[in-house]
Symmetry: C2
Subunit: 470 residues, 2 copies
């Protein structure tokens, strides 16, 4: 628990109404969407403005109280689980869309804005914010920025980082700084904006962001390519891009995923094939038509057994929604769902899918694989039961091997979910000791007292590297 | 001069052939493309590989010898002037294109590769590397990455930062680390890749880079819009983008620039108008046609007096070349040419152009203004004479006022040229003391002995802020 002095100081800043250390409230914020991580915070505080955030950080820095900034807690890396106690900071009062600037094509928001609310608001003006994480109905922009969230449109349009052009942040010492601007270009010093994007709340608290928008694509079309051979599907992904077509979306779903999604969503997905690619292209109508024809030809050359083009936007939306519900659908199978996001160069997708299947068999697990194939970003997802310790040990070994394979193929341990507490032990596999040391130098420079989301990104102990069995 | 011990150690690493401390060689590398900055290095070394770079850095770190990594020295911020002596490091041996990966759409290069050579090499495979700084015929990729170079295609395609996806770098302590990968997505820890891009050689030495490529646009068209009113030209820029068209290129040239470029290049540029916009669109032919028609309509509504569409690619290339030669052309006017790159939100272009003209009149200077109007990135360029101290004082005051105005309009002191030694005194105007302190924390974390390009980015003294006179 916080000492009385700290509690009183925090209440003096945010008022009693915005400070809560009741057991119920602490329990609510003791976990996020990540299975198997739970830890009680000492209190939950909800600042009303940047100045209050600054004052809170000064108090926490003085008394060395951990701070965990939290949006909606939809992350899958235990990034907002208060593993070392301290304060969970909520942004429920800082949830305004401050400005949509139609001349400079920007939107300026507070961190607590719900992603989809903002997307709808800018779309009403004919503008487009591409990053669309699957959790966007409930995730916040602040959370998206801290995690550098991806989504289904990343292949063509990039991720959250590519759209953040200015930030207001509060440093652990309470300093308020502004980075960037409504500027297409700015090289005045180091790129703090991009450093803070994806820093998982370990460096600063984000209190305002200006995001770049682009014109809304004129039209969009959606198709499914069906395969009886997993590697043919994977090869189609590389072939489409090697043919110099960049679709908006190029999603992969394997048969186990199709089956559970169809059981859940009942929209008539094919469940008698080994894999499907969900492919979307947007842009001017003539370009979309032409690209879809070319993509269909490529898929057929790569042994697609059938190509289905969505007849209407309603049908297309149903397919997209089905894809977005994959995690929820799999979560119905067993009590615990562990979703990973090992990522490889897209030319290695076929090898990675093959490796995941071999590892699944080896450890006798239920793993559904789906994901952003165009980005090389797969989500092998294990339906398991955390109470079954013997099985959980196999799950852990299987995922360690999956990470090991991804790295061996030139990939990474996380494409879009972040490191958090969950993957911190594996980070050294990707970055080596020297890379971790470089990142720690930054962390220490900003946060010498380690109050910002401690225990995330940097592990106390790294996992011993397993030997890949081929 | 270096002490003998250091000299011997460096020669032992690179061999005598790649170590030069002759007066001639030192003189050659005592300056870069920035006027009015000159300072002798103690020696010039040319490592042949990453391992040698690592060994050199270990020696320099031990003996606290400054290191200035240098490509072709085309930067305009005195970024590679060895203002505190030490070693200039050249990459003439590390100049290979290591791989063009057509499946993952990447190119991997050593830092000494000439930008245009690489662009040609990837274009032969139908691939496209958009960043095209005006100096690309002689600039190196390593220099482009260190400066986060822009170019004429930045409006639609972004800048160097947007294409760097993996780096191999050497830290001041000699550690060699790799960041990123051939990956569309990677959130394994802080985004060191983007932190190093634009860090101006003050953090690490870049020894290898993997760059993202995109499919080559199918076609491109070029037009000129002519104006008798500067602010009408500036307003057209905002209007085009507010109408949700993003051209590849949207360049602005004022009458003084047109005149000197035409005198130099003699390609029939109109010199009887107050300003022109050079506009390019690329993409599928039908889209380019349609966009050009819409852009022409918008320009006419905004009082363009004439629209000229380039009849052939040769004519278009002549226009682009004319624009690229603006600096060289202006440099013929007087002995000293000072080119700046104050940048504002594009909605403020009209205000910024107006301010530049008023400041030019106030200080009775010759300033030609051109630049990437679509990015809000203007290049007011002063033809002057460094030997005329009285005039140089007026030049300095004028540019200080230009920076002041840019910041007041929500802009920045540098859009694409970097801070270097030249703008270091002004950086605090943009970032405030707290922002500088945050950046210094990073610098100190990586380079506690301040051997990496010392005297750049961070000024010993900041300029007192002038009062804007409206």
């Amino acid at each position: 628990m916080l000492i009385n002095e700290v509690k009183e100081k925090l209440i003096a800043i945010v008022t009693k109404a915005n400070y809560d250390d009741s057991k119920t409230e602490r329990l609510v914020y003791s976990y996020d969407a990540t299975p198997n991580f739970q830890s009680m915070p000492d209190a939950v505080v909800s600042p009303r403005n940047t100045e209050e955030v600054s004052q809170i950080l000064k108090v926490c820095n003085q008394y060395k109280v951990p701070i965990v900034p939290r949006g909606s807690g939809t992350n899958l890396c235990a990034g907002t689980c208060p593993t070392e106690g301290g304060i969970v900071m909520l942004f429920k009062h800082m949830n305004k869309i401050l400005e949509i600037d139609e001349e400079n094509l920007t939107v300026t928001v507070q961190p607590g804005v719900i992603t989809l609310d903002m997307i709808h608001a800018v779309e009403e003006k004919g503008l487009f914010y591409p990053p669309d994480p699957s959790s966007m109905k409930i995730s916040t922009i602040g959370g998206n920025i801290n995690e550098n969230s991806g989504g289904l449109r990343g292949l063509k349009y990039g991720v959250t980082r590519d759209y953040v052009i200015a930030l207001e942040v509060v440093l652990p010492n309470g300093d308020i700084i502004r980075t960037g601007g409504k500027l297409a270009k700015d090289v005045a010093g180091y790129d703090l904006t991009r450093l803070f994007v994806g820093s998982e709340g370990t460096l600063v608290v984000i209190t305002e962001a200006t995001l770049k928008l682009i014109p809304m694509p004129e039209t969009k079309k959606t198709m499914l390519a069906l395969y009886q051979d997993l590697s043919a599907a994977a090869k189609s992904v590389s072939a489409i891009i090697a043919n110099k077509i960049i679709p908006t979306t190029l999603e992969f779903l394997d048969q186990p995923t199709l089956q559970v999604v169809e059981d859940f969503a009942k929209i008539g997905l094919p469940t008698d094939v080994k894999a499907v690619l969900l492919i979307e292209q947007d842009g001017p109508p003539e370009v979309v038509e032409r690209d879809l024809t070319r993509i269909a030809d490529i898929c057929k050359q790569e042994q697609a057994v059938s190509i289905q083009i969505a007849a209407s936007e309603a049908e297309a939306e149903a397919l997209r929604t089905a894809r977005r519900t994959a995690l929820s659908a799999i979560a119905r199978l067993k009590p615990t769902t562990i979703l990973e996001d090992a990522t490889v160069p897209r030319s290695e997708i076929a090898n990675m899918v093959k490796a995941i299947n071999e590892i699944t068999d080896k450890y006798q697990l239920t793993i559904c694989t789906f994901g952003h194939a165009g980005d090389g970003n797969l989500h092998p997802t294990c339906a398991t039961d955390a109470r079954n310790h013997e099985e959980m040990e196999r799950v852990e070994k299987a995922f360690a091997e999956i990470f090991e394979h991804a790295i061996a193929l030139g990939g990474t341990i996380t494409g879009e979910h972040g490191v958090g507490a969950m993957k911190a032990p594996y980070l050294e596999w990707k970055l080596k000791e020297e890379g971790i040391a470089a990142m720690k130098a930054i962390k220490h420079g900003f946060d010498p007292n380690n109050i910002m989301n401690p225990g995330k990104v940097f592990a106390k102990d790294s996992k011993k590297r397993v030997v890949v069995t081929k």
